[in-house]
């Protein structure tokens, strides 16, 4: 009888949770900056925690969102424990000039990012320093509000704001440089 219950629990978990592995792995990859081993560890730890707490999941609700929350908190625990001191970040190296200055939204060159292959976009996100990448991933890929990111990372809202804004500017500059190299845009 007990085996039947366990078997059913396992079957439910596999049916509900495992279809989200791709999304979990992609989220983990962006959080870790493309570190394959850490991303896999993170997904495995997330699945184990989710399986242990499977009774807390309400069938019919958003399983993917529930798993993402577990993955995020697993990552943040690791993130804080790894970081004895913050990596120095040069805050003055972001040019104030924007690649979008004076451009029209209808100008294909202004929309250069739409002509860059997806892999290169992912690479550019992964190449951002942790301090910039993590707020960007939590905001732009996970839809968290500034306050939520501030709570998750344990930094003031103003810091979240400035890191997120700089992350976007860096990403734009990096992708624009790439677009110039590839001849996608003229300058």
């Amino acid at each position: 009888m007990e085996d039947v219950g366990r078997g059913q629990r396992r079957a439910e978990f596999e049916a509900e949770a495992l279809p989200h592995l791709d999304a979990l792995y992609a989220f983990a990859s962006r959080l870790t900056g493309g570190d394959e081993a850490r991303s896999e560890d993170l997904v495995q730890a997330t699945c184990l925690r989710a399986f242990e707490r499977w009774e807390q999941y309400e069938p019919g609700t958003d399983c993917r969102a529930w798993l993402m929350t577990i993955l995020r908190s697993t990552f943040i625990n690791e993130y804080h424990s790894r970081r004895t001191k913050p990596t120095p970040v040069d805050y003055d190296d972001v040019a104030e000039r924007s690649v979008f200055d004076g451009r029209s939204p209808d100008d294909p060159e202004a929309r250069f990012f739409e002509r860059i292959v997806d892999d290169r976009i992912v690479e550019a996100i992964d190449a951002l320093p942790d301090e910039f990448r993590v707020p960007l991933v939590l905001s732009d890929l996970q839809g968290l509000k500034y306050r939520e990111i501030s709570d998750v990372l344990g930094v003031p809202v103003g810091t979240v704001k400035s890191r997120l804004h700089r992350a976007r500017r860096r990403l734009q500059d990096d992708l624009h440089d790439y677009a110039v190299e590839q001849g996608i845009v003229a300058r």
Partner: protein, 95 residues
């Protein structure tokens, strides 16, 4: 579709009863992220209705963020990850 003909304000100056381009740009990401308090959000929105310098910039920034959101989570899962997770679950269950 937003009407270009309404965007007659040359930019770089203060529109009547409104804010400057600098004030609008300083709040651009907060506005796009829906993080601005309602009164400022309204001021920026009104500025964008008349400023032909800021509106294109905001539109491109929005398009950029939307693009990153749509493309940034590309799955790249290792093929054997699911198998390893099933093995881990076996181990947990046998404990």
């Amino acid at each position: 579709m937003i009407d270009w003909f309404r965007r007659l304000w040359p930019g770089g100056e203060t529109a009547p009863e409104n804010i400057t381009c600098e004030e609008a740009l300083a709040r651009m990401y907060e506005y796009l992220d829906g993080e601005l308090e309602p009164d400022w959000s309204e001021k920026v929105r009104r500025h964008l209705e008349v400023c032909r310098r800021c509106w294109p910039r905001f539109e491109l920034e929005r398009a950029f963020i939307d693009h990153i959101r749509a493309r940034g989570l590309r799955p790249a899962r290792k093929r054997d990850l699911e198998e390893r997770i099933r093995t881990l679950l076996d181990e947990v269950e046998s404990d």
